[in-house]
Symmetry: C2
């Protein structure tokens, strides 16, 4: 058993004590409802006693599924009982989809850059990829259309699955425009591929919520993957898939870790005690402020050659430092007391990612964000080869 | 995607209200420590706040692993840090092992009967099996030796993996004798296969604990799978694998649902507050009494042609009713108010299992066990074709 890439979690650098964490895609600690979850567990076990501690039987297991189905409905997706599967986070959902749809012949289309864990998952199944660059409006569907047309003309294999994070993307923070969403769905129909819509950040819009691909999907081509990790607590491992029953059936068959009754029933108990929309609005206002703070600090401290995308939601700011290999920058940044994730980990061809880095505004406090960006600027100031005259900031 | 067998959980019949549950392989409700787990969560979240609700960071995640490693050591297995992987129950552990070791060419040796979920898992990978019958001393290693010798002589493929539940087996309740344990390990060395030792019930001995295969394994041929489902709470989904680092590495790679911090840290918090040996002794005395009650009731109510094995631990009694198809008996039993699992679900060749059924003494109360066996006897009395004169009870 040999692995071509680094082992899992290689991008997780060991952080020195006191390091300002601009690397962690974690929720803000104060927004993780630990007190509410303590109460949710007490209520759950007082009411149900041993039920949520068995394999089956807690009424809150179906209640969680019902909550997720209703939530999907408010977002324009009517998922029937057998069209939604609760999973252990989005990662298990992606892995199950890969397992059911892919084999070592399959071609998978992915954004460049994209979520590194998803890349790792797909690479357990196939070595064949089509990468589509991202710009400030997300996946470049015109480029995808050209690539597909070219492959068709030359008789080359077409993708079976396209993996996208259309909203507040990881790592770029970009959002696929409505026009491109429509175009992508047309291409899926024209070239007969399925779309895995990873919506882990989709409920974290600062102002509005873009329309889901799944809500625009009239041909059952979209497999929607959701997660409560970013909006409640990642440690509860609650994700789900909404898709055609013919997909959900085999996913369920291959999901051999069974349900997680304690996690799922606890989540249901937590959700029944809160107003979820108010909860989300609370998150959005905090993260919007933290994002604004990070963008101001970048503007204030970073040299003009450095550029970034402006996110409208999510956790991340994607920064480009021309001429710098950010993985070589990282040890200096850690020594100075600030962390980030080098861009190369988000690309299949890691060379493409050298000048980028991902900053997260979700975990650190506003004060830490300002200090962290300032430290980063100092480290970059030492490392940057030749400051350019113009900025391509947006 | 087509499935040759029934969908998952087909053996879980829908129970009418008030049905006496002799089907459920669940722990006794009063022994599931729901109050202690409520306190464990409160202590955990008061002390660690958001830590166990993130992806990483709770000190209790490594503490749980440490507990399991120490526990293994008390049972004669020294597993280093990189020789143990915590999983979501034994099922995920078995699935990961199958994923890493098997392909569609692989031959797998399994006991007949055996745990139905494991059969389903293996069937996701290969169609090739060698089945070895079980008697009152467990897997018949002499038969296995003959089969292997014969295959070798005829140039037929030899098994890559043998799956066994050597102690208090599911469904038969039998325990592999020490002599056969030695023989099995010799055969693994001689014919070059690995052994998956599923020890889900191994800590539930009424009197003593047989020596683990893994503790006798001098050639790194045994992959040990443990579980806290039967001794603490299945709904927490805590299992583990202890094996060579060269096995654990790829298992970890394919384990794409990540850790389950809330479940794992809660379990660690629970375990640190109890004396585990006392906890196990408490379970053993309750289950021993319930088993004795079930055996007495079987002796009292069932016709002489019916036979069973006498378990020394675990959850189950395996009953044979000659001439009866127990899957046809089930609807009548459910109508009468008692459930069991038909034997056929525990066999790859379901025809072999027709006259058997699995009774569980773990979940029902002693009163319910007596009543349930009495109801079962009435249903069998109607169904049994021709009572034999002799009994082969043991």
């Amino acid at each position: 058993m040999a692995f071509k890439n680094d082992p899992p979690g290689q991008w997780l650098s060991t952080l020195p004590p006191g390091c300002l964490r601009l690397s962690s895609g974690y929720p803000e600690p104060a927004l993780v409802p630990s007190e509410e979850i303590k109460l949710a567990v007490a209520r759950l076990l007082d009411e149900e006693r041993d039920l949520p501690l068995h394999y089956l039987g807690s009424p809150r297991i179906p209640q969680l599924k019902e909550f997720l189905r209703k939530r999907m409905a408010t977002r324009g997706v009517e998922a029937a009982e057998d069209e939604l599967l609760v999973t252990s986070g989005a990662c298990q959902a992606i892995d199950l989809i890969a397992r059911v749809l892919l084999d070592d012949e399959a071609l998978v289309a992915v954004e460049a850059p994209t979520y590194m864990e998803a890349l790792e998952i797909f690479q357990n199944y196939t070595e064949h990829y089509l990468t589509i660059p991202i710009d400030e409006k997300g996946l470049q569907t015109e480029l995808l259309a050209d690539l597909l047309a070219d492959r068709k003309v030359h008789g080359q294999p077409l993708p079976r699955l396209l993996y996208t994070i259309p909203t507040y993307q990881n790592p770029t923070g970009t959002t696929l425009s409505l026009e491109r969403r429509k175009h992508l769905l047309e291409l899926a129909e024209q070239y007969d591929f399925l779309i895995l819509e990873d919506d882990a950040y989709g409920e974290l819009g600062f102002q509005d919520r873009p329309q889901l691909l799944k809500a625009m999907d009239t041909n059952n081509r979209v497999l929607y993957v959701g997660s409560l990790s970013k909006v409640v607590a990642p440690g509860m491992r609650i994700g789900w898939v909404a898709a055609d029953e013919r997909i959900i059936d085999p996913l369920n068959w291959f999901k051999k870790d069974l349900n997680h009754p304690f996690d799922q029933a606890t989540m249901a108990s937590f959700l029944e005690a809160i107003n979820f929309d108010e909860h989300l609005n609370g998150l959005a206002s905090v993260y919007e402020a933290k994002c604004a703070t990070m963008l101001s600090a970048l503007e204030e401290f970073l040299p003009p050659a450095v550029s970034w995308f402006t996110p409208k939601g999510g956790y991340f700011v994607w920064v480009k430092i021309p001429g710098v290999d950010t993985s070589e920058l990282l040890p200096k940044a850690l020594a100075a007391g600030v962390s980030f994730v080098p861009g190369k980990y988000f690309f299949l061809n890691q060379q493409e990612g050298l000048p980028y880095l991902r900053l997260s505004f979700s975990y650190a406090s506003e004060e830490e964000i300002v200090k962290g960006v300032e430290l980063l600027a100092q480290v970059i100031g030492i490392s940057i080869p030749q400051p350019e005259q113009e900025t391509d900031r947006q």
